[in-house]
């Protein structure tokens, strides 16, 4: 039997065959080149359509934004590290490394919908060596925004430390290189394992439960924070006293934390520099070696998962368990267990029972899908964390008594609303091939989007109430006029978002893979334009709030927003009346975009 691996596919003799080698051998190099060409062809073919050109424009713009962010972060890191190194404040250097490490790991989740990622799983049908597979996985990872931003920050730290202490040039280069490798491997490992857990129902549900428990746990921090804020004394002396108290209280804790962090990667990277400047090169190498071991462990954890993928594990399509199937060749004429079937179908939206079948059906289906789609749950839940964590910046301590920034409530509401961007602006994204049901069934598209809008409005209201409660607990009760104006602004912003969301969902949809956080395929154009629309809505809100505040007539904002809200609802209804025409006019593109394999 001939070996097909060595077959001469061109019939031109042995010269046409690329011989295998290591992960940098001729075959591997030919495969890397083929993949690079494939990426280029995919990119250039995408430019053939208007949508592709729009995507290119959006991508260019987004890279300019990322580059600006990166330069700002790098400059900040550089300045901070320069002053820390020049001032011999090495004990604070770990803070910089911890922030950098946190950003490196958190940015991919925050920007998941802004990045198009290439699923290397398609390579497994080819004779690709495991080493090449891992290498490609890492090389494509280098094009991640997190790696680019992290790399720029590393460059900033490098410049800062090297400028302040030129003698440390080699050390800082080495330490940053190992730290960067560790972060690249860790972020890849985290995402590849999350994807693995999301691939199976049981682990997906456990992960979902852990995620929700985490959210609730963080919210339980509120009473503690609230208590501390209200136990605060007033006046400068009292503040100084408060700081002394805090130092006394937290100092042992910080010392313990410092002892622990020294053994963790960011601490080790910083420690190696400190040991180098203190002429303890052996200890410095020891710290770097330990950091290298962390990098190896992260790489090992990543390789473990990639090895399973490489061997052909595909958890998403495998039957979860084997069961003996009772074969019945005749249909049951009537089934007496209709009640049991009803129970099995689960809960139902009781309030809508008997009123509108399709509306209730779409809402129930979307709630079920949402509860099983971790990326969307995360997107909705994460901004609440921001509200909780960052609302503290609105406490002003300058006066005789700590007071809240008057417009903190609407600002926190804006944060909370950010989580709905993907839900509003790509409301069909999780439908996949199911989009065909809407075109095949006798239910108008208007009804489908109305149901989705109603559900999203309910969710939005729930999140707004939760954000309001969190803000109140954290900062105290806002002025009545501000509460009323904030409510009125939400009544204006919600229909605006729903209107634009309905149009974007039909005109530039993209498929959301509900089983993945990483390796998600998004639409730059949708993401950027939705951001633009939101900025416009925010600008209107900011203008009205600012005007009312400066005129010291906050009550004015409420009627203005209510008038705007009436207009927004009118436009929303007009657009909703047109969605059938838009959807049917674009059904082919819509189905292609949503049924595309990710």
């Amino acid at each position: 039997m001939a070996d097909l691996g060595g077959a001469d596919l061109n019939g031109l003799g042995g010269a046409a065959v690329v011989h295998a080698g290591g992960m940098l051998g001729p075959l591997a190099r030919a495969q890397y080149a083929a993949l690079a060409r494939l990426r280029w062809r995919m990119f250039s073919n995408g430019m053939r359509s208007n949508k592709g050109m729009l995507e290119l424009g959006a991508r260019t713009f987004s890279y300019i934004v990322y580059a600006s962010m990166g330069v700002a972060l790098a400059a900040g890191s550089g300045v901070a590290s320069y002053f820390l190194a020049a001032g011999n404040q090495w004990r604070f250097l770990p803070v910089l490394f911890w922030v950098l490490g946190f950003l490196w790991q958190a940015i991919p989740i925050m920007l998941a919908s802004f990045q198009e990622q290439f699923d290397l799983g398609i390579l497994l049908r080819f004779p690709v060596r495991f080493g090449s597979y891992v290498l490609l996985y890492l090389v494509f990872g280098l094009l991640d925004i997190s790696t680019i931003l992290g790399g720029l920050c590393c460059a900033g730290i490098w410049f800062g430390v090297a400028a302040a202490r030129p003698g440390l040039l080699l050390w800082v280069t080495l330490a940053l290189a190992v730290f960067a490798v560790f972060n690249i491997l860790l972020v890849r490992a985290i995402f590849v394992w999350i994807d693995r857990w999301l691939a199976q129902r049981k682990t997906r549900e456990i992960l979902g439960a852990v995620f929700m428990a985490g959210l609730l746990g963080l919210q339980l921090l509120n009473p503690a924070l609230y208590q501390k804020r209200h136990s605060a004394h007033s006046g400068h002396e009292a503040q100084a006293e408060q700081i002394r108290e805090a130092k006394a209280r937290y100092s042992p804790l910080l010392k313990k934390a410092n002892r622990v962090q020294k053994w963790l990667p960011p601490g080790l990277a910083a420690l190696s520099l400190r040991e180098a400047i203190e002429n303890r090169p052996l200890q410095g190498f020891g710290s770097l070696g330990l950091l290298g071991i962390y990098a190896l462990v992260a790489g090992g954890v990543l390789a473990l998962r990639l090895k399973a993928e490489y061997r052909g594990e595909n958890l998403g399509s495998a039957p979860a368990r084997d069961k003996a199937v009772l074969i019945r060749t005749k249909a049951v004429a009537s089934f007496p267990g209709a009640a049991a079937a009803g129970r099995e179908a689960g809960w139902a939206l009781g309030g809508l029972k008997g009123r509108s079948g399709p509306i209730a059906a779409v809402m129930e289906k979307d709630v079920r899908s949402l509860m099983r789609t971790l990326p969307l749950l995360y997107a909705i839940g994460a901004p609440l964390l921001l509200v909780l964590v960052f609302s503290g910046i609105f406490i002003r301590n300058g006066g005789a008594q700590p007071s809240m920034f008057p417009l903190a409530l609407p600002v926190c509401m804006v944060y909370a609303q950010l989580g709905f961007t993907q839900v509003f602006y790509n409301s069909l994204g999780t439908e996949g091939a199911g989009i065909q049901v809407y075109f095949l069934s006798p239910t108008p598209f208007r009804t489908v989007l109305l149901a989705k809008n109603l559900l999203h409005a309910l969710l939005f209201a729930a999140v707004a109430v939760l954000a309001g409660v969190l803000t109140t607990l954290r900062l105290g009760t806002a002025d009545n006029a501000v509460i009323a104006a904030t409510g009125a602004w939400l009544l204006f912003s919600l229909p605006c978002n729903l209107t634009a969301g309905n149009l974007f969902s039909l005109k530039m949809p993209y498929r959301v893979n509900p089983g993945r956080i990483a390796r998600q395929r998004g639409s730059q154009a949708n993401a950027l334009l939705s951001l633009l629309v939101q900025l416009c809505i925010l600008a209107v809100g900011a203008a009205v709030f600012s005007m009312s505040w400066f005129l010291d007539r906050m009550w004015m904002a409420t009627p203005i927003f209510l008038v705007l809200a009436v207009g927004a609802v009118f436009v929303w209804r007009r657009v909703l009346d047109r969605v059938d025409a838009i959807a049917y006019g674009r059904r082919d593109e819509l189905m292609q975009a949503l049924m595309k394999e990710s």
Partner: protein, 264 residues
């Protein structure tokens, strides 16, 4: 004259410079089991998409049960069931939840939907898997579920795009019985498949599309007679299989000179 269940006139679909389907005119009588055949890329799925409202024709008309069919023909949509090319499944639902959703999208009340859902799951041998997410189903199980969803509202006209692909022999036999039962009760079925044996056994009428154009249309006997008449004298007497008819019409016989000599 009896109103056709499916009637098209000059049905055409172009994608830019490519004409996927050109000037297809056909008529399917009520109660007919109609096989729609063609090689890969011939335009079968494009035609079925146009017939079911998933794709707008560039030119031509479609009538279902004597009424013009378009995107807005909501009442007509209640009369048709479809297993489309992509199966139209929703991966994040269980089979029960999905059928429940589809039934209600077709306007069935909750009780009827629940009852039919359970019956269909039993019939399709999916009852034991009803709590599993659709995304975790095998391809064959997904096909069965798609078929269950297509018939949950009791359609009069059923469009099936490759319904037997990936379905095991036991389930395929059961599905054939179900489809034959529907025909006996007066339903019309429009079927595309590459399994010619199934068409030969089930379909009374067959149309063949090649390179976007309808190249044959009629009862199986009419096609057989048509192809036989083109054969030399002695061969005219033998009973041609559908495969032979199909290959003769679409010209799919490979020349022996086209062998790939480098393959062992």
């Amino acid at each position: 004259m009896e109103t056709a269940a499916i009637q098209t006139h000059g049905l055409t679909r172009r994608f830019g410079a490519l004409t996927a389907v050109e000037d297809v005119t056909l008529s399917v009588a009520p109660g007919q089991f109609f096989g729609f055949l063609g090689p890969n890329g011939a335009g079968k799925s494009t035609t079925i998409k146009m017939l079911t409202g998933l794709l707008e024709p560039t030119a031509g008309t479609v009538e279902i049960l004597g009424q013009p069919f378009g995107a807005g023909a909501l009442d007509l949509k209640r009369q048709i069931g479809v297993v489309p090319e992509g199966m139209a499944l929703m991966g994040r639902l269980t089979a029960t939840e999905y059928l429940h959703f589809v039934g209600r999208m077709y306007g069935l009340d909750r009780q009827t939907t629940n009852l039919r859902t359970q019956e269909l799951l039993e019939f399709m041998q999916l009852a034991n898997e009803s709590k599993k997410l659709v995304t975790d189903f095998s391809h064959g199980m997904q096909k069965k579920l798609a078929l269950a969803a297509a018939v949950i509202h009791g359609p009069k006209v059923l469009f099936l795009d490759e319904p037997f692909e990936g379905v095991d022999a036991i389930a395929a036999g059961m599905l054939k019985n179900m489809l034959t039962g529907m025909i006996n009760r007066g339903a019309t079925i429009f079927l595309t498949t590459h399994v010619l044996e199934i068409v030969e056994r089930l379909c009374s009428h067959v149309a063949i599309i090649s390179k976007g154009r309808l190249v044959a249309n009629g009862s199986l006997e009419e096609l057989r007679a048509g192809v036989a008449s083109t054969l030399p004298g002695a061969e005219q007497e033998q009973r041609l299989t559908l495969e032979e008819i199909f290959l003769a019409i679409v010209g799919g016989v490979q020349e022996s000179t086209q062998e790939l000599t480098w393959l062992t």
